[in-house]
Symmetry: C2
Subunit: 462 residues, 2 copies
Amino acid sequence: MNKNEIPYKIYLEESELPKQWYNIRSDMKNKPAPLLNPATLKPMTKEELGVVFCDELVKQELDDTTAFIDIPEEITSFYKMYRPAPLVRAYFLEEKLQTPAKIYYKFEGNNTSGSHKLNSAIAQAYYAKKQGLKGVTTETGAGQWGTALSMACSYFDLDCQVYMVKVSYEQKPFRREVMKTYGASVTPSPSEFTEVGRKILAEHPGTGGSLGCAISEAVEVALGKDGYKYVLGSVLNQVLLHQSIIGLEAKAAMDKYDIRPDIIIGCAGGGSNLGGLMAPFIREKLRGEKDYQFIAIEPASCPSITRGVYAYDFCDTGKVCPLSKMYTLGSGFMPSPNHAGGLRYHGMNSVLSQLFEDKLIEARSVGQTEVFEAAELFARVEGTLPAPESAHAIKGAIDEALKCKETGEEKTILFGLTGTGYFDMKAYEKFHNGEMTDYVPSDEELSQSFNSIIGYNNPNLK
Amino acid sequence: MNKNEIPYKIYLEESELPKQWYNIRSDMKNKPAPLLNPATLKPMTKEELGVVFCDELVKQELDDTTAFIDIPEEITSFYKMYRPAPLVRAYFLEEKLQTPAKIYYKFEGNNTSGSHKLNSAIAQAYYAKKQGLKGVTTETGAGQWGTALSMACSYFDLDCQVYMVKVSYEQKPFRREVMKTYGASVTPSPSEFTEVGRKILAEHPGTGGSLGCAISEAVEVALGKDGYKYVLGSVLNQVLLHQSIIGLEAKAAMDKYDIRPDIIIGCAGGGSNLGGLMAPFIREKLRGEKDYQFIAIEPASCPSITRGVYAYDFCDTGKVCPLSKMYTLGSGFMPSPNHAGGLRYHGMNSVLSQLFEDKLIEARSVGQTEVFEAAELFARVEGTLPAPESAHAIKGAIDEALKCKETGEEKTILFGLTGTGYFDMKAYEKFHNGEMTDYVPSDEELSQSFNSIIGYNNPNLK
């Protein structure tokens, strides 16, 4: 295909948009291990999960056989507000790198929430509404998920209560105001409004909070409030399912122009965006139809796949959630305060963990400073200011493109540009002022952290 | 045409993108009055303007006869980075308002500079590069223009020196960091680096600066530096010309689906976005081919068209620039500190001023609080968080749509959504906290301001 025939941006027509999500688990020979009840160490039942989550979402969470699930019309209708997301040929970046590689990125930042999180937020809000709920509770750290959920709840006229890690609440007032613009109530966590919040405040007066604490508060509020459930924006299999829209759209756009990626790259925190981007491609690999190279890029400061262990662990720091078998650094692991942006989750989605265990995907970790160098280069040549999270994927793509430059190979690279960095300028400022540091946890630090993992060295939890 | 046949978003194909800009002046019977040299009160010559501006831009500034001007290939190539901008059918807004009106908006915020300003920034940077310059200087207030110019200069490897109003520099550190990300140097104005800056600092120690002062500093630096010229992001006719890409794209998208707008609405500060959006439509009106209603929406706190006078006045507060005949509140007029966002220019582009004088376009002013109400409503239903400036056009469109609801008319409304509000959350915060006020200048205040206008009551300057 002639270069001139492929536009800079490929937008699918409305009629070409995916009408079903794809469930990776359905094609996996080795299914991801089930969630366990930490009290009984038995698989979580539908009923147990239903106490916290919406019924339909529980069904999706537990379903590892259905391949394609219809996207409800109410959701496809909302999708039209900001989808299709463009598939962009990074001509400017290729030229800058002088690489024979062809680089494409699927850009998910063209909506006010600024990231791909909206894809799952709208689905979760829809099922909550359908179940007749009054509202949902959630936590947010950097704020992308909280913003996305606020938008989604506003659309369905659902109450949205966000517990925002206190230090982010104070340092990111603009994120908070965006959520308020969409009608959400935003509470700095820990708060005086929950038992767990009061307890933490009593033990640690003046604490800036943590994601684990915010989860615990959001769950407590949902459990105690009639007509409310708790929702979560990453890590879960249901989220991976909803995010498959990213990959399905990307593949449809590529198929339309007869483009076949050799390498598919995504940043990985909880794993939802990479899982979504790779979904239809890994399907072909799992079915032995085609082969692709998949690379998860994670921060060197929070290297759950590249340096973690594959074991049952709590999904949350507060240890109120079920156990998941995954690559984990230990639920008590906290990335260094120098770490900017998201991708700070201690574990990894169980589907991606199993795929990595089975050597179907690869993983690499990258340093913070080189990530911001890649981010700035990308912003200058491609015009979009990436979120720090997304910049991990950019760094991965640039590295692969430079390898092609050395070898002369004309590989086709697809990566996920999950969001924009408009609310991350504090981190860019640090970078510009030379105040950014690269912290990498020591082996000793990690092995200490591993010892707190419930399934580590426990023969009953393999 | 059936509703279902018109997609939510219309993206033109690359082959359908405009290849020429359109110059409104060419079809005007009453041409806008020429810029005057304030020393001689004679029309500014090419040579005089060439001291400050790039040669090709001077040519465009003075050309009121050529209808279509080819867009250089280097610029159309850059345009591909963020254009086409989508034409969006505001189905969600229509439903919310329960109006029979059909509402469309041309969205120009899908690029990191966050606004339409990039359309002219890239053109001005290109001509500067073509002339062999080393760099350009400019001023920025809220920061949209500075950001856009930084991006454009980065693309052409031009040095970009931005003088940013000190109070904005301090209150909008993130805007500043975005500009730095694109390699621009950003100096708070007034600074110690220019004669005029030092003078102002001596007279007003601790001043937060003003746009007028920043212009004066940027001009002084350009004049004193070999290989540098000064560039300006609004008000000038060359800017209107570059911004015609907005309207040309919008019209091509509408023509493709056989949509004909009845009303075209834009916010108006210096006039560049409205002038750009309306360009191909006013062409048909000027040529007697079709009729449209054009409405400029301006803030009640800075009502240059609705309450200003049509007279020769300085283009800048510092009185270092030429005189322009325009609707003006007086070059010394400063909107109240309560006024949020842009649209704070005391005058109006001379083309729009003449069109208004000839009753070819209308103008309305709207209050700040109702503008933010419209902004929040729009964000909630359409998903895009608008810049406060853009929200003026939203307010205008909603008002017209509600009129249609009363009368039952199915009018088609097109408005310009010039940008996103990610860097304006301080203003949204004020709005959420009930701290936003509506200041409207009194008649007395305005008539005092008019008396300082050089061409007001001066028979030699009619």
